[in-house]
């Protein structure tokens, strides 16, 4: 009896070790392995990961790798031969996968400008978060009813779309768009103030050089002082003082990525580049009141604006 107990213990120990490398996996042994690599505990990333898992469903054995945990096994896991596809969430995870992974990469939750990097392996597919200006303007026609004069302050180094293309996009949305190229953050305030009296609102596309924790405060104060609304790119921006923002639905971005991955696993083909298909609009009624504006009242629609107070 005692001999049997100890033998069972030994066998159980072996089995435990055999399972260790695949501790996070679900699915069957013959399913392809997909690693979802994320490098931050940002809430948006967690939403995206859930979306990816939903999109992939049971078509693959999924391993979620949190690179911020700094486990020494991360490199070996990224380079694992059993990995069929690497889905990266965020630009840091993409960089790590590009350096150490060998499987094709589907890069998500980053901007196209984040893809530029020296010597990085190009991803097989990209689901970037860049929101077309036309989509922003279409939504702003509801946030600013009757206002048709928009401006865009952009960093010309990271936004390559031609002015003509942007103007055409604005025209299709029933608006005029004045584009201001601002290559340096020191010129941001000056560029903004130069738009006073000429436009109804100013769009600030995501760019870490121009819009960050240091530059945003004087910009918002100038917006309030001159009663010229700012349209940002995140909830945080709206909370800071932008009147509105248009940004992707991160869970849906993840689901979209999961569906792309599922197609790749079944057919081997992957879409080279896609943008987000579902967008959210956030608005700050408090800022609106400070600016002397009114957000449109409830119109019974079931899809609404994320109200930030």
């Amino acid at each position: 009896m005692k001999l049997r107990i100890y033998t069972v213990l030994s066998i159980a120990s072996c089995l435990l070790q055999a399972q260790a490398p695949f501790r996070d996996n679900a699915g069957h042994a013959d399913q392809p392995t997909v690693i979802i690599a994320t490098s931050s505990a940002i809430e948006a990333f967690e939403e995206a990961v859930k979306g990816i898992q939903q999109g992939l469903g049971s078509s693959a054995k999924i391993l979620v790798l949190d690179l911020s945990a700094k486990s020494p096994e991360n490199e070996s896991r990224l380079a694992g031969k059993e990995v069929r596809l690497l889905i990266t969430v965020g630009n840091n995870a993409y960089e790590s996968a590009a350096r150490f992974g060998t499987a094709p990469i589907l890069a998500t939750m980053l901007l196209r400008s984040d893809l530029a990097g020296p010597g990085f392996r190009a991803p097989a597919g990209v689901l970037a978060l860049d929101v077309p200006v036309s989509e922003i303007l279409a939504r702003m026609s509801f946030v600013f009813p009757g206002k048709t004069r928009a401006a865009l302050i952009r960093n010309p180094d990271s936004h390559s779309t031609s002015q003509a293309t942007l103007a055409a996009q604005a025209k299709s949305a029933g608006m005029t768009l004045k584009i201001v190229d601002c290559p340096r953050p020191e010129k941001l305030l000056q560029s903004f103030l130069a738009l006073r009296g000429q436009v109804d609102f100013v769009i600030c596309p995501p760019d870490g050089t121009l819009y960050n924790g240091t530059t945003v405060r004087p910009l918002i104060l100038a917006s309030l002082e001159n009663r010229l609304p700012v349209v940002g790119f995140s909830e945080s921006f709206v909370r800071t003082g932008a009147m509105a923002a248009v940004y992707p639905d991160y869970f849906d971005v993840g689901a979209q990525a999961g569906e792309l991955a599922k197609k790749f696993l079944s057919s081997g083909a992957i879409v080279a580049s896609e943008g987000p298909r579902k967008l959210k609009v956030a608005a700050n009624p408090r800022v609106a009141r400070l600016l002397g504006l009114r957000l449109p009242g409830r119109n019974g629609s079931d899809s609404g604006v994320v109200v930030i107070e």
């Binding site: 005692k2 100890y6 213990l9 030994s10 120990s13 435990l16 070790q17 490098s39 931050s40 948006a44 990333f45 690179l67 911020s68 700094k70 020494p72 991360n74 490199e75 630009n91 840091n92 960089e95 790590s96 350096r99 150490f100 984040d114 978060l129 279409a138 760019d207 870490g208 960050n212 945003v216 405060r217 004087p218 104060l221 309030l224 002082e225 995140s234 945080s236 003082g241 940004y247 967008l279 609009v281 608005a283 009624p285 408090r286 800022v287 609106a288 400070l290 600016l291 002397g292 009114r294 957000l295 449109p296 009242g297 409830r298 019974g300 629609s301 899809s303 609404g304 604006v305 107070e309």
Partner: protein, 686 residues
Amino acid sequence: MDRLGMAKRASLAFCFAFTGVIAQDNSAPKPAPNPDDSAATKPESVLFEALPMVEAASLHAQSLLEAPASVTVITEEEIRRRGYRTMADVLADVRGMYVTYDRAYHYVGVRGFSLPGDASNRFLVMINGHSLSENLYGSANLFGQDFGLDLDLVKRIEIVRGPSSALYGTNGMFATINIVTKSPVDYQPFRISSEFDTFGERKGQASGSVYLGGGANLIVSGSVFNNTGQSPLYFPAFDTPQTNHGLAIHMDGERGYHTFANLIWGHWSFTAYFNNREKVVPTGWFGTIFNDRGDKTSDGRNFLEASYQRDIGTDGQLRWRIYYDQYRFWAGLDFPSEIGTLIGRNVAQADWIGTELTYRFRAPLIGFLTLGGQADWDLRAHLDSYYLAPIYQAIPAVNSRDRTAGLFFQDERSLGRHWTFYLGGRFDDSRIHQLELTPRAALIYHPSETSALKLLFGRSFRNPSPYEQFYQDGVTQIANLKLASERMQTFEAAFEKQIAKRFELQANVYHYRLTDLIQAVLVSDGIQQYRNTDPVQASGVEFEARANLLSGFRLGASLAFQDTSGDRGSVVKVNSPARIGKILLDSPVWRNHWSLSGGLQYLSRRLTLEGSEVSPVYLVNVTAVARRLPGDLELSLGIQNLFNYRYWDPAGTVQEMASIQQNGRSCFVRLSWAPERKDEARVPKL
């Protein structure tokens, strides 16, 4: 060796071998480059960056939260959840504070200091940084319905312990209380409230905010109250047939109004604050006729203010304010005499104007520097007393107008990653009082992001008020032209720790020495004079813990110990509890449609002026609030002194009794109607 033993050892060895492999696998990192090393330094996309808040809508408010001291903040949510109706309700739940009521005014004790009948003039009370201390009695002891701001308008209350004369001048000795009002931008377009309680409270309030165009937003509020109070009230000291056997009938009523308006427009903020409260006083104070409805007091504390605030560059902030303040006091005092009732009147009329300018900027090698100046001019500081009947007799009035000026600075400097140093000081001068210099220094150490250790030293002072220094009627009081200012030195250490985002711990230890304490001293039969008396020293320690548990359940507890030097007969020992305890519980109930709050207040025994003691106080209050009733209604129901505990507060020198019995159990209800804003956008899906 038997077979079992060998097998056992082999199996165990096998298990441990693999376990050792696991341990080896997970212990030391491999020398190969880690894919995370580069990721740690580069931020993620700016899409996910947490951008700093810009308090643009708080142009009307000045916050004390930058103060390097022990701070308690009570939020609007806590005010609503706990059913607070007056400032006295709020402060009674604050660590280390306690409220005394003499049936005329509420007095707040801080760090064991609350001289009975004192004018609460050793700490500052502000609304949006505007001091409410008036220039006649130096008092700020309006905490009941005599406090002119309805709590519906309050965004938060900041209580900063310790000296603040280095920034605010006279009276900033024990604590500074700043009430920050809601921005017109944040307030509902319309709100109506009504309050009732079983002690006869009847109050109605209407308030709202409106956009005026051109970026201007206005909030306006007005309330009226007519409370009948408790009746009868029993006072054993008057239990004689001649004085109705100690029963005061319909003698606890009060009535009045509160108005408040705030307009913000661009960088400007304009505030108007007007109020008045009239209270019948049942205690026969000052030797007046007991149970006489002619004994009443009326207070009105009003101000108009215009302030301007703007950012200069990226780090600078300029703030300028100009104001007109007013205080009106009226007391009816009917005295018994052989020739009939002496109908007496005390009238105080005070008006003053002032201005204050502060500039905060980053200076090279110095850190953040705040420079400022303040000046006040008394237009009128008039104290008048007279008898109307049986013959008119006036007592020479006092009108001692002063001009004061102060210059202050505060330097905040980072001394590395973990240390911050504050150094500040203020020079105050006035026409009547001597020059005062009040420095303050603080050293803050952050061993981690969630903990802080603060060491604080400060000097503070209080100028004698015109009432203390110049008032004399020859019957109750004589003047003291040589009265000097009180001065205090405080040493304090505070430790704050946040654990796992759900728990907060605070501990505070302090020692202060107060010299030239101004007290009313009896100099002859019934006549008092304010004099500088012996120094007072006190030490204390305070503990506080707060927990935000799962499902929205919140728990808070505090305990304060203090000891004041001096023998038992020393007046500073009067109304000074050695221990103060508070427990607060909040919980959402019924799917978050209601919230339930409960609190326990404990005060240890307190001495009275006559040398006796009042028994410890154990008060339990409960409140239930429903915020989501149909029709935009909100309902608050509460019971104060749930167990009908009988307790007393020590009486002051003006009451001819040792202690005054406080309220028993009472129930209140508050109903509010506030329709939601209609400007929340609903953008169709595209």
